[in-house]
Symmetry: C2
Subunit: 216 residues, 2 copies
């Protein structure tokens, strides 16, 4: 979709700073109140739409219609639909990561995530529906896996692990996110506290036995 050579190098061309394929990053923008408002409108629109239909079938036109924002404005902020999605949910992933990291044991912070999920039901629902969950997963995965692995290493001390630690951490994060997804899909049939208890009952005995460590 290359365009013809622009007649004149436009003056206010801090628009794009990107190589489309390399996906270097999003566009530059100030913290102007207008910019913030626009971004908010766009992300809200995307979340709303993701509650209604699949991510794939949402067009940029849908988004800007819903957000009531000009077409060029969209492209002034984001490279494309994908960029909007990731920059939105990467943030969510970071938030979640922080929730995990400021406690003593990552395994004891899952409750917070369940609770946080309940409080932000709409966002998470959209997230699970579309492909958002994968992006958050990625953002969260590194964080959570690293944290868990460090924790296990510390608890193991000098002893070697009878099982590769990444296997354990991926097992745990995968199971956790799957349960979270199930819980949302079924409209949260039990309390966050119950979900957390179930998760830990399913996880801790095996892990403690296998690595010969104790939690809490």
């Amino acid at each position: 979709m290359k365009y013809k050579e622009p007649t004149q190098p436009t003056k206010r061309a801090n628009y794009a700073l990107l190589n489309r394929k390399g996906k270097l990053s999003m566009k530059s923008n100030k913290n102007d109140r207008r910019s913030q408002r626009t971004r908010q409108l766009l992300t809200n629109a995307l979340v709303e739409l993701m509650l209604e239909k699949s991510y794939e079938s949402i067009t940029v036109q849908d988004i800007i219609d819903r957000a009531n924002v000009g077409r060029s404005t969209f492209y002034a902020h984001y490279l494309d639909k994908e960029d909007l999605l990731t920059s939105q949910f990467e943030e969510a992933g970071r938030h979640l990561g922080e929730e995990f990291s400021d406690g003593d044991s990552a395994l004891f912070l899952t409750l917070r995530v369940f609770q946080h999920t309940r409080e932000n039901y709409r966002l998470y629902k959209a997230l699970v529906w579309g492909r958002g969950i994968e992006i958050v997963f990625k953002a969260l995965e590194a964080h959570l896996n690293a944290h868990l692995e460090a924790e296990f290493k510390q608890k193991l001390g000098e002893r070697p692990s009878p099982i590769p630690l990444p296997v354990v951490t991926h097992y745990i994060t995968g199971a956790f996110l799957t349960l979270l997804k199930w819980w949302l899909d079924n409209n949260m049939p039990v309390t966050p506290e119950d979900m957390d208890r179930y998760f830990r009952q399913l996880t801790i005995p095996s892990v403690e036995g296998l690595l010969d460590i104790k939690f809490k």
Copy 2:
């Protein structure tokens, strides 16, 4: 993309039998050797392409170029890119489901999947890369969850479960598929047998303790 009224109702119009949005199903085709060959070419092309780039960025044009098949031929077989993907991988999901179902305990058949994965490395890699894994997951999920739940019920006998069985089954399938994905992403650093052992070591103690049942 409605088209203008066709001048004449075309004679050979067994092309489409679908409501595009309702996604009723794919198009009708005989088991003509030519049809089979075309489908094979198209699915092979898709798998190849998914090994090279993201599913999203693959166009119908890419596929038919790679498969060396006419544009109209593609649309004679499939509704769109999505349809090709699903009809291909739903089949794979069913195969996997059968692998699971013809043994005594579903939990003891994971080894077969790990082995099967290793033997069909390219297919599974493409599957994990693109969105294929979700589709297989869906196809497999119902099968596996139902199977596990029935097994648990039978083992429990009259006793009530201290935890909703869907929670257990989703936990297990989620953890399993995540491990499978990790294993592939890291180019299978350990043997299928090891992976299976790890998985069972992480799963069985907790489940046996929680439900007070025994496997094997």
